[in-house]
Amino acid sequence: MTAPCAASATTTAERACGVRVQLQPSWLLHSRPYRDSSLLLDVFTADCGRLGLVARGVHRRSRGGSLGAHLQPFRPLLLSFSGRGELQQLTAVEAPGAALGLAGERLFSGLYLNELLVRLLQRQDPHPELFAGYGLTLEALAEEGEVAPHLRAFESQLLDTLGYHLQPDIDASSGETVQADRCYHFDPESGLWPAGVAQPGGAPVYPGHHLLAMARGDYRGEVARSAKGLLRQALAVHLGDRPLRSRELFRARLTGEGRG
């Protein structure tokens, strides 16, 4: 009995990203108005990865008008959709839980995560582990405590998912573990090199003990600054020339504070 069940499970999975999908766990990454009362959605689903959906008649009163309230980022959603190709049609929305209470600066962090995903993930490329990681990161952001370590852990997971595993504890010149008392600089192509060897002018330098902490997944305290720099360098290669706009949001806010 088990064999046919397994076979049917595969075909369901194969079919999952076309034709008709029911109640797929999803997060909304971005939406923009389309025609009179419709929205174009960019969603991150558990089994189908990032998808483009059309939600028709969202603002229409005859549909209860509450669809727009459900279709917000940082809120767990169950989406049903159908169709093939780039843009599928949203058929039903259920919100099984309340929105995560991201407020203030944590909203900016959430928007930053969403911009990263929209910029770096290909459409219709399933990443169930990253999907879970994204949910956990949002939950962590909604709680008290430091934001930065969670953002760094997510950035690192995102790089892994894209197939560019970052090894912060390996010295690229020797292939051995980095030494805690030395400093290193990072080359996105090849990895970490001891500082001083063919180092381009002004490149950021990372202390060895920070790198070892990062390899253990510890991004707290004084490691935070190094981790931010290193991951930003690693992500920059994939982001290309266009900068992330959500980062400007933080920067503009900081200069505003400095001015005031």
Partner: protein, 201 residues
């Protein structure tokens, strides 16, 4: 090509309106030609007039054909209270409600990093300058209760000087609505923002 060039052009031009496809554009064109040429001429001159003269108010960024719009130049309006909204239609909505006697600032959008809309695109610097110049004492943040609207409201909250009273409009159950049909998040907001009922002593 079924139509004469001028007719075809008009059909094409009408399609720039939201929700107007080829079929409706054709129907509108034929209606104007057959039944309402005077109306069509009025429409043409009104369109040209509006497109050439209407620009943003230098103070609140709402649409106006003067340098400063009627609301901003109305002396009966409280110049020290400013309500921040996302779009000109939000100004209309607040105006129709009739209860507000201060002035406005229209953002013409909300912060949306993915669409490339940051503080500079919304003229937030201009707004902060205005607050300082005109001695504004109260700012009401009436951006939409969406994630982007909240982010915009928070950005302004952080950037405004501490001497300014900042408030955010309340979110809750619509008048005449029924709790059963209200979305859970809205209801949660309504509960967390509940108000003590004043009782006669």
């Amino acid at each position: 090509m079924k139509f004469s060039p001028a007719l075809g052009n008009l059909v094409e031009a009408l399609r720039c309106l939201p929700g107007v496809g080829p079929k409706s554009a054709q129907r509108m064109t034929l209606h104007l030609l057959e039944r309402d040429r005077a109306g069509a001429m009025r429409l043409a001159s009104a369109l040209e007039d509006a497109m050439q003269r209407v620009d943003h108010c230098s103070r609140c960024r709402n649409y106006t054909e003067q340098d400063v719009c009627e609301i901003c130049s109305d002396p009966r309006r409280d110049p020290q209270t400013v309500c921040v909204v996302e779009s000109p239609s939000d100004v209309m909505a607040v105006e129709y409600s009739g209860g507000y006697r201060g002035r406005y600032f229209v953002l013409m959008g909300h912060l949306s990093p993915i669409d490339g809309i940051g503080p500079a695109e919304l003229g937030l610097d201009r707004f902060l300058e205005r607050v300082a110049e005109e001695g504004v004492t109260e700012v009401i943040l009436a951006t939409n209760p969406t994630v982007e609207g909240e982010a915009t409201a928070w950005y302004l909250t952080e950037a405004l000087p501490a001497s300014v009273n900042v408030s955010r409009i309340a979110h809750g159950v619509p008048l005449g609505g029924e709790l059963e049909y209200v979305d859970g998040n809205t209801l949660a907001h309504a509960f967390s923002g509940r108000r003590r009922v004043e009782r006669p002593a």
